[in-house]
């Protein structure tokens, strides 16, 4: 019980927090929900995964903890968290990785917190589960001190009082903080956050996003932030991947991807968000049609049926290619054609 969050993690600091190569996820029927996704997240890096319903972003998040239903088939060439490979591991091995190397926070904290257990006990349970405390009588004082330290880390006011409270006695924002404290209890190298602020009001959302960045700065924990909200991703992440119909279609820094999108889908998505740039009361640009399951089986560009710039080459499979002159990668035939030549 002497470890603190500022102490250096067990794996060397240069090991990638997450290293995924060629991840595909399929469910019982139909085409794969996720196809050939590769992701890497450095220590202390915040990676955003953005996309609309059905793009596969949540499946990717869940697979990193081995939390997909048993009916899902997960294939990958490599899938390592903090240097520990997850591919082909038993549930028992995964159990050791979960919590120690990687943990997860969700949109709705009430689904993750135990409603009939005091906050303090929920944190202590995690400490014991992951060998941070032997759970003996003599360890009690240390456990309590550590629980308080964690609540302070996530900036919960009056932590002594909160230890004795139940989840229903807390506000939504406070519950989200407590869930983050529980997730951080075993000092994971990677925190997966799936829509962590979607159910919160904007002023509380701003607090939680600040907290995630602050945690990263203080503990070096890397974060994968899954969200449909372009603004949340833009303001929080160091790097962003855009997913469409199960594939990564664009990757780069938020400044690159969201200020000058390289893929027509990213561009369409950005244009349809009402901002100060749109003349009030005018029609917003839209993306025609919608995603269907068939799109995920398409050999060529999966966005082509909806794309305003589609051409015959789009029927051919498209690789995620580096864009000349910047650090980004785009899955589109137009990516290396300059704006003027289109």
């Amino acid at each position: 019980m002497t470890t603190t969050l500022t102490e250096s993690p067990t794996a060397p600091a240069t090991t990638l927090a997450l290293d995924v190569d060629g991840l595909s996820i399929g469910y019982a029927n139909g085409p794969d929900a996720v196809s050939d996704v590769s992701l890497s997240v450095g220590p202390g890096e915040i990676l955003g995964i953005i996309g609309e319903s059905g793009c596969g972003k949540s499946s990717v998040g869940l697979s990193l903890l081995g939390l997909l239903p048993s009916s899902a088939s997960v294939r990958a060439r490599r899938m390592a968290v903090a240097g520990h490979d997850l591919v082909g591991r038993s549930d028992r091995d995964l159990h050791a990785v979960r919590g120690n190397d990687v943990s997860m926070i969700f949109q709705e904290p009430m689904n993750a917190l135990n409603p009939v257990m005091r906050i303090g006990d929920q944190i202590v349970e995690v400490l014991r589960l992951h060998g941070r405390s032997a759970g003996r009588r003599a360890d009690r004082a240390g456990e309590r001190a550590r629980a308080l330290e964690l609540l302070r880390l996530v900036q919960v006011p009056e932590p002594e009082l909160r230890l004795r409270q139940f989840p229903h006695q807390l506000s939504g924002g406070m519950r989200q903080r407590v869930m983050i404290a529980v997730a951080m209890a075993a000092e994971p190298r990677l925190l997966v956050a799936d829509e962590p602020t979607t159910a919160l009001d904007v002023t509380v959302q701003a607090q939680i996003l600040d907290l995630l960045r602050d945690l990263r700065d203080r503990t070096g924990t890397a974060v994968v932030l899954v969200s449909h909200d372009l603004g949340v991703i833009a303001e929080t992440c160091d790097r962003v991947v855009v997913m469409y119909a199960g594939q990564v279609i664009e990757e780069g820094t938020p400044a690159e991807v969201l200020s000058a999108p390289g893929h027509p889908y990213t561009a369409g998505l950005l244009a349809s968000v009402p901002t100060a740039d749109h003349e009030p009361g005018t029609d917003l640009p839209t993306i025609r049609g919608g995603i269907t399951a068939d799109d995920r089986a398409r050999a060529g560009c999966r966005f082509a049926p909806r794309c305003p710039a589609a051409r015959t080459e789009c029927g051919q499979p498209q690789a995620l290619r580096p864009v000349p002159g910047d650090g980004r990668r785009v899955r589109c035939v137009l990516a290396d054609i300059t704006e003027e030549d289109r």
Partner: protein, 343 residues
Amino acid sequence: MNDPHDYLVYVEGLQQDFPARGGEPVRALDDVTFYVRRGETLGLVGESGCGKSTLARAALLLREPTQGRVIFDDTDTSSLRRGALRATRRRMQMVFQDPNDSLDPRFTVLRSVAEPLVAAGSGRAEARRRAAETLERVGVPADQHQRRPHEFSGGQRQRIAIARALAGDPDFLVLDEPTSALDVSIQAQILNLLQELQRERDLTYLFISHNLGVVRHLATRVAVMYLGRVVEIGPTEQIFRDPQHPYTRALLSAVPDPRGAARERIVLSGDLPSPRHRYPGCAFASRCWLATDECRTERPPLRDHVDSAGEHVAACHHAGSTTLPADLPVGPAATASTDPVTA
């Protein structure tokens, strides 16, 4: 300029109390006054628990207010008898965030849209004809009218819910977060549809949303609510360019921008205080970085601080009195302590 005959809806001094176990009632609405002009969209913003939805129900005459009244189309609805009240209610409709709240999963969508017309006294054939017409108008083709809600996507279901609200040809529509559950590319389609319908049918909207970008795009004027009170109200462009109430400023600054545009950032500490507590002064004082003793004891009235002839008003003792940007702490943790009643 401000002619009460322009108002389709005028809500005056509305107060709504709900009984609470072992204590004073919760005051969900506290002296709320505003109007909605004919053919305009009033955007209503604020965070959960601020009373937006309670206000919507009161404006739709679905619940008798503890105090105050609603004047609809120059008629004081508090004096209406049952038959007349029903007729008035039919001129008002609501669209919810979740279309499933207004569609029966067992009915074909045509029946769901036709049903309120039948209830209002139309013949079956006539009701079906008008329902089909409305469904086609919102973008649901005739060959899909016999399907049930589960066979449609979320966006299509919201179109059907809009058709159901519109079929009876109402004048006033309350839209309660109508696009919050939709993907952004679908959201844009629904917002465009709502704008087209408003122009075509001369509709008046009360548009409730926590999404300020959406409100900015759609609303003619915006009302900002905090803890059961309207703290600021004015033309959309002015509210966004020159917000007067510190809460409005904080709210606007908290919206993340996809293109990372530079903006003032005020991160409020703490959560919304409990509505069970009564605040003699300004309800926002516990989280406000400008709060003085006056704010904690004297309730600020809605006043014009910007010479707008009463068009843009805010309830703040400090609005307009100082040059706010200069003495405003920005960045994380810019504010005072957490409110003690927060839990």
